[in-house]
């Protein structure tokens, strides 16, 4: 019987209880108590959670003798730069190795249409991946800085390889192939969802004749012009688009939902600004990628709107649907997302608009309007053809917003408002199964819409305190970067 039953005396039980209480007391005594954020910030690494199988130890697992430790005169440790490498092996060997590399790249580029490890396509993504710190995203093609002194290997150092420098024709693929390659590259460069539409006569009706982005820096207003030229270019007063650039690529730049939920706050403002910073890098890489392949990516500026309203082309190209905030809400990313676009001469397919029940849902839901401190968002049940004012583009049946009141309130907060975007019901995360059920339901039928948005409020989704954000252990960049991941794996 002893094999199956343990005998525990009352004395042992009370002793155990005493030990457990003492343990809890001891843990409580040594646990840190934080009174403010400064204390949290200065706390030890115990706040930096790692997997359970990672142990903190007193010494690194590599042995160190501090008596023998001495810094190198210059950072030759990785021999990263050719002159540093030449210090040890001589310029002859460096030049030979790099010339072999050049030959391999040129030979690889000759394999027309190849996706092999050394090919024009491969070189394009290679070249696009490092020049973001050398180039500026903008209307002009990426600019490579001129080196002050002659480089030891001028054709390698400070230069960017293109199909022309490799001596091959530009990349040619079907529109579908091109889109697939561009999507893979753009995801790598930081974009979220990607779509494309043709720059036809209807879409051209939405293009602003003038670009105001330079007004951010008290610069002049630039005009947009279309010309029969091979390459887009810029003058002091004009952005010139070649008539051959007939496609608009639209894409999202994710932003941290958890930060947006703290609106209005500086934390939310930081999240809002992060899209411009991230897009700056993404667009610089895209431009270089296209340039190496023999095409152009023209984006006037990373700042708001650019050549046309982003929600408009986002909706037309099927990134998302218009919503009550008069923005474009994305099925996978919600309302907390930056939408950007660029014009290109790379032939691309035309994406179709999408319907996941969002605009219909907005007919019932007024969560954003209810929470808007400026009362700038429409409470009407039905959208209207009548713009709220001369600041809005006519020709669409939408929920127009009182933009001046919205922006005035934003400025008055000292940070930004963005409450409407932060509390939008489509911002839910993906861990709880209920969100998939709700999204599937409202995409199929609208009869539960009114109930669902009230349930969203009752369940407490929406605003969080800004102070809470500092305690969260979030993914890099603060947002979920696993879009495209299916059940922990990768789709094709």
């Amino acid at each position: 019987m002893n094999k199956f039953h343990t005998s525990l005396s009352r004395r042992d039980f009370m002793k155990g209880l005493g030990l457990a209480s003492a343990s809890i007391g001891a843990v409580a005594a040594v646990s840190p108590i934080f009174h403010d954020l400064d204390e949290v910030a200065s706390a030890d690494s115990s706040v930096n959670k790692r997997p359970w199988w990672v142990r903190e130890v007193d010494k690194p697992t590599i042995e160190i003798d501090w008596d023998k430790m001495a810094a190198l005169a210059i950072p030759t440790e990785g021999c990263h730069l050719p002159p540093l490498l030449a210090e040890f092996v001589g310029w002859d060997r460096v030049n030979t190795a790099m010339a072999q590399g050049q030959t391999a790249l040129k030979e690889g580029a000759q394999k027309v249409g190849s996706r092999e490890a050394i090919s024009l396509l491969d070189t394009a993504i290679q070249e696009a991946s490092w020049p973001h710190f050398l180039t500026q995203a903008g209307w002009r093609e990426p600019v490579t800085p001129v080196l002050a002194d002659p480089a030891p290997i001028p054709e390698l150092v400070g230069s960017i390889m293109t199909h022309e420098t490799l001596g091959v024709a530009k990349w040619e693929g079907t529109p579908e192939e091109n889109f697939a390659l561009l999507k893979s590259a753009m995801r790598f460069f930081g974009a979220g969802q990607i779509a494309s539409i043709e720059l036809d006569t209807n879409v051209k009706k939405m293009l602003y004749p003038q670009d105001a982005s330079r007004m951010f820096f008290n610069g002049p207003i630039m005009s947009y012009k279309f010309e029969d030229v091979d390459k887009g270019y810029m003058t002091d007063t004009n952005y010139v688009i070649p008539n051959t650039a007939r496609w608009i690529v639209t894409y999202t730049t994710p932003m941290p939902k958890e930060m947006y939920r703290t609106a209005p706050s500086g934390v939310c403002y930081a999240a809002n600004m992060s899209r411009y910073r991230l897009n700056h890098e993404t667009m610089a890489c895209v431009q270089q990628f296209l340039k190496t392949l023999g095409y152009q990516g023209l984006q006037s500026a990373p700042f708001p709107n650019g050549i046309c309203p982003s929600p408009a082309v986002g909706t037309l190209s099927g990134l998302g649907e218009m919503d009550r905030i008069n923005q474009c809400v994305i099925p996978e990313e919600g309302a907390v997302v930056g939408i950007y676009k660029f014009i290109t001469d790379l032939p691309l397919p035309v994406s179709k608009p999408i319907d996941f029940g969002a605009f219909r849902f907005c007919h019932s839901c007024r969560k954003c309007a209810d929470t808007c401190p400026a009362k700038a968002i429409s409470f009407e049940e039905e959208p209207t053809w009548e713009p709220a004012g001369p600041w809005s583009t006519a020709g669409k049946r939408a929920y127009f917003k009182n933009e001046p009141e919205c922006k005035l309130y934003q400025h008055s907060t000292g940070a930004t408002c963005q409450i409407c975007t932060g509390v939008c019901v489509f911002n839910v995360n993906t861990k709880a199964m209920i969100h998939e059920v709700v999204k599937s339901t409202l995409s199929t039928t609208g009869i539960f819409n009114s109930f669902l948005w009230k349930a969203d409020v009752a369940f407490g989704y929406g605003h969080h305190d800004a102070a809470e954000w500092w305690d969260l252990d979030l993914p890099r960049y603060g947002f979920d970067t696993t879009m495209g991941v299916r059940d922990g794996g990768y789709g094709k």
Binding site: V428, N429, K431, A432, M433, I434, A458, F459, G460
Partner: protein, 90 residues
Amino acid sequence: MWFTIGILVGALILGLIWLMKRHNFSLTWYEWLIGAVGLLMLLFTIQNYFGSLAEVEPKAANMFLLVIGLPGIILLALSWQLAARRAKKA
């Protein structure tokens, strides 16, 4: 977690069937139905409770316990009581 829950639920259902066979007892179709709905609601609650906590939405997590978890337990209890009282009468 779901692997463990799956094994537990499977073991419980097998245990129930084994007990029913041993005592020569069977459940009516509506007792099965009420019990199955209750179990599904309970599993749905568990997923959404822990999912909501992971999403830093504690209010939503507690609401799931109240709105779906509690009715789920009531349905399971109802199924059990219907079967138990019927067995007692017999």
